[in-house]
Amino acid sequence: MILQIDQVVKQFGGIAAVNGVSFKVGKQEIVGIIGPNGAGKTTLFNLISGALPVTSGSIRFKGEEITNQKAHLICQKGIGRTFQVVKPFGNISVLENVKIGAFNRIQKSREATEYAEYVLEKVALIHRRDSVAKSLTIADKKRLEVAKALATQPELLLLDEVMAGLNPGEIHEIIPLIGSLAKDGLTLVIIEHIMEVIMQLSQRIVVIHHGEKIAEGSPTEVTSNPKVIEAYLGEAVSFA
């Protein structure tokens, strides 16, 4: 098990955004996390990546307790993440953005540059390497977000809605990228709203609703689960 989440709770004021969620992620697995808006998916990512402290529960990475550790330490241990609302370093070039990620494992500037170029090739953003990050299209900004996280050389990558806001053409371009990351030996946990995509990519799916896990299983198991269907009723989401 690369990631073990055990009875994790996060309260804001009196409201539990995440309420006793537990699940495990195996090495080189692709796990999808779905749930209606406001279900607590992003909060869960923030807890795993150390951006927010948990109220209770424990999170283990490769058997090591990482609960409530600082975000930068968790990244150094090998968990990378992207942000749902992209956070590029706006005033510097795409290459420099990715290079900053690369410095997580690499000390020398030239080697970091080379590795950043390699990552940019991989996410097909190399043609924009000298562009200022804030000038990118939203699709390219999402790619940059992935590239930055990837450059830190994580073992586990948390992808938070990297396809939200993209058009169908752009989505179909980015799916193979995610598939190729898995082939490289990365473990992936993906939050995604677009069902078609997550069903296609994930081996296993965790469904969260009102901060609680209501189902877990293969894509087909989950979609036929009555609880899941109930949770999604009223939300206009189509199961493709």
Partner: protein
Amino acid sequence: MKRAVTKSTLLWLLVLLIALLIPVVVENKFYMHTLILILFYAAVSGSWNILAGYAGQLSLGHAIFFGLGAYTSTLLFMNGGVSPWIGMCAALALCMLVGACIGYPCFRLKGPFFTLATLAFSEVIRLVASFWKELTNGAVGLNIPFQAGFSNLMFRGKEPYYYIALGVLCLVIAVTYWIDRSKMGAYLIAIRENEEAADALGIPITRYKLYAVLISSGLAGITGVFYAQYILFIEPEAMFNVNFSVQVALISIIGGMGTVAGPVLGAVLMIPLNELLRSAFSGLNGLNFFLYGIVLILVVSFIPNGILPTLRGWLSKKRANRHSQLTQAIPGTQKGGGQVDSAN
């Protein structure tokens, strides 16, 4: 990429060569004084640039370290006969210590509130320096007795001061250049641009901010020692002056914050203008600062990144356009394709 590095190194060396030769040609005392001021302001502003331009911590308390440096070496010299050269080392150490003590609690504050806190620290230190008469001689200030000699860091002519100021500036530039090219610079810029994203990429934010303030305040302390030895008179009102901090900031802002050459360019443009205005309109007190203010508003409103990055951005846009045209024209010829795989 490599060629660009050598090109800029060559340019720096050329500028240095010219700077070394200037005193051979220039005899006029007023010009020499102006040149020394350019070097001095470029150095102070360069030290501010490390904390503000790279790490994005907009301090208006930089005068604290400048003043502290000046008082450290001066008091050591006047009370203990310690050579200002040694005083310079003491100033460096003390300023780093004070910088860390002020920086550490203030780094929690963001944007204008960090700025306000540094401003308040600066005022507290000025008031304490004026009040602590036993140590600083209060608002009256300290006259440093003139005893020419290398070990006293005092000279009759202007040339030695010129070369020392040049040396200090070279030190500041070298340090900035090193930061700019290294992991440190990349991390400081990441912190400036977005702390949350920087955190997620494994950057220990507080530690890197501390590095920045240590370097920045230490270098500012050295410039303070130089100033005291050049002017031979220091007083709290002049040394811990918020307007001085603003002026130092302005120079970097105009030239370009977060670049190595920005502060130098800013000083080269603003200091002669300042001196010129002051001598041309000596009857009209305040005209130079009046224009300073207007320039500051115009620069931040219209070219907020400063002159150098604006020029550079314009150039790289042209290059990026050309590059994307090239790769579009010849598909599959994108250079540098995946031959490096350091993942394994």
